[in-house]
Amino acid sequence: MTVPAVTAAAPRGGRPRSKNWVGALPLLVVTAVAFGIPALTLLVGAFTVKDPVTKVSSLGTANLSRSLQGAYLNALISSVQLSAVVAVAAAVAGTFLAQAVVTSRFTALREAVLTFSGVLANFGGVPLAFIWIATLGNSGVITTALGLGPGVLYNFWGLALVYMYFSVPLMVLVVTPALDGLRPQWREAAQNNGATTWQFWRYVGVPVLTPALLGGVVLLFGGAFAAYATAYAMVGSTVPLVTLQIAEALTGDVLIGYENVALALSLDMIVVALLVMAVYLPLQKRSSRWLR
């Protein structure tokens, strides 16, 4: 995780660096086999165009251009929007919740919230969808009790709300160690120098936390971007998602011969993830520079 960046700011020199990679070799091998080969397969598949009549394969960009048109493009855009909304909103909510827990005087509360977050952060799929359907669906408990009309849940914002259910706890888990790393001495030092609370957070707290917060946002973005079972069970295509399109093309009962379009869509997703990283890494580097 990115979080330990704060605490791991300890000096790391000493040993000669040249041999460090040997220890990482097993990991690199596993990564190359378990990640590299499939990624390559995906890449080749995305550029392989199969003629529907002659069944002859050739290299081409037809899948990719198809994956960036019409319904597929809409799905990609909608996925990015949903993920961005969820990531930012859950990061903000999660950070405040984590801060409340960290500064709480009750250890039991802290432990309870963290344990619970660990459970909820892994909550997803059809069961999650069903919980929300039963609560806020057209015949949901709360919908009926408050006399809300149908369709409260089955739209973009409803889905975002449901995604928050696992994203906020995840943010709590990610950001809590970073908040713990904010030493009380810094606050005392700031206060001794006459800083207000606002000034402390503006000039000390938030800058120290920025790498962890950014890491959290990226993590949540990825989580929301890759999710789909919840959405499938709850809103189907009414909120188009790129993951849903991939699933339909790969493992459905209807579409035949769309496998390579699915691979092209996967490639699109990787590119989006890389773009997010391309924005995140320089920011992260800049904001963590002075921590060293």
């Binding site: 990640f35 989580g223 009414t238 009962d253 209807v254 035949i256 997703m269």
Partner: protein, 406 residues
């Protein structure tokens, strides 16, 4: 085939990996999945080829090339060869779909052959993938129950072994591939299920579904771009609204209207959503809707099934034998069992309409009680051609999202 679906979680299980980027975790998952397929391919030739050969020649005939029970020297010899193999590996047969739970039990009870039923909720595409990626392995599916389009494309890819069951001649010509590469097994009509306790007057036609009283209540069994029954639901809607087998667009327009009036409920129907009252009206195969009724009655729900007069759409699934079936004799015996009066009546007991139903009505072997339980329907079904279905799917893939999103 696409059944009640709870799996769909291959990629979204663990939002929290100890990794910086969740998307990486996810891609790693996908990667691992792909890798599994890749290694499965690579490992293929070495694993089970010898055993298959041994099994195949056990009764003096090569079961893998036998195209009828006669090739074994009669059904008894086939039973013998199958018993020697002792096992049958199947996937994508949910116990609560078309009575497969009972069919599997009955087969094992009758022949003492153990059935390994794996991933019951898998889809047709998953079945075809399993045939390809597990080629030569003991875990490859012996037999397939797939959508007809998948049967046609799988046959074109050379994945199936031709076989003609003893009742072959009774299967109508338009329900089988002439050489026996695939043959339809059972099917049903698109129907409208309805919770008669919660809904005053149940809808009986597609036109009814647009009435304001059904606001937020009309659901499908999944997404039509993924689920066979939902696709059929849209196709039937097209027929009900001036479309034809050549023109599914009116079906899309119908659901667009349904969405605009607020009647469309995007939740995928499952027994749980019916019980909870979230999907009070559900468009689905009649055998699914009809099978809900007895189960829901235990829970105090009166689940009614009607086949809409204005959108009559009938479709069958198909059986095929994996060309590289690890248990080739058992696979063939399974087909003989399914197409015997006993097997066909078991389908009927699960409210599915077996392909031999007309023949069995004629020769009196039909289970009349089970037949009387079927939702009533008038007239003979008509079928789209494969080209029409493919065109409809293409229109649907491009247009469905636009019809219901927003």
């Amino acid at each position: 085939m696409y059944k009640f679906v709870y799996f769909r979680e291959i990629l979204r299980d663990t939002p929290l990996g100890d990794t910086v980027i969740a998307s990486r975790v996810r891609f790693a998952g996908l990667a691992a999945f792909l890798l599994m397929s890749a290694t499965a391919c690579g490992a293929a030739p070495t694993t089970a080829a010898p055993t298959a050969g041994a099994d195949g020649s056990a009764a003096g005939v090569d079961a893998r090339t036998a195209t009828s029970a006669a090739d074994f020297g009669g059904l008894d010899k086939l039973v013998e060869a199958a018993k020697k193999e002792g096992k049958l590996h199947v996937i994508a047969l949910p116990p609560d779909w078309a009575n497969y739970g009972k069919i599997i039990e009955a087969f094992t009870a009758k022949y003492g052959i153990e059935i390994e039923s794996e991933t019951p909720d898998a889809s047709s595409a998953d079945e075809i993938n399993a045939v390809k990626t597990r080629k030569g392995q003991d875990r490859a599916p012996d037999v397939l129950d797939i959508g007809q389009s998948f049967a046609i494309s799988g046959a074109a890819e050379g994945l199936f072994a031709p076989y003609k069951v003893e009742s072959w001649d009774k299967i109508p010509d338009n329900q089988k591939e002439p050489s026996g590469l695939w043959f339809n097994d059972y099917g049903g009509y698109i129907s409208i299920g309805c919770d008669a306790k919660k809904i005053d007057k149940c809808p009986e036609t597609y036109a009814d579904l647009l009435k304001p009283e059904y606001k937020g209540k009309v659901a499908l069994n999944g997404n039509p771009t993924k689920s066979g029954s939902a696709f059929a639901g849209v196709y039937a809607a097209a027929l009900a609204n001036g479309g034809s087998f050549d023109d599914i667009q009116p079906g899309l327009d119908f659901f667009k209207k349904l969405k605009e009036t607020g009647n469309f409920n995007p939740v995928e129907t499952t027994p749980a959503t019916i019980e909870k009252g979230e999907t009070q009206i559900s468009i689905d195969w009649d055998y699914n809707n009809a099978a809900y009724a007895p189960k829901m009655a235990e829970k105090g729900i009166d689940w009614k099934t009607v086949i809409p007069d204005d959108g009559k759409y009938f479709q069958l699934y198909a059986q095929a034998i994996n060309k590289d079936a690890p248990h080739p004799a058992a696979a063939r015996l399974w087909q003989e069992f399914l197409y015997s009066a006993e097997g066909q009546n078991l389908y009927l007991g699960g409210f599915a309409r077996p392909v031999l139903l007309p023949a069995m009505k004629a020769d009196g072997t039909v289970d009349a009680t089970a037949e009387a339980n079927l939702p009533p329907v008038e007239g003979d079904p008509t079928f789209p051609t494969e080209a029409q279905v493919n065109k409809a799917k293409e229109v649907l893939a491009d247009g469905w999202g636009a019809a219901v999103s927003g």
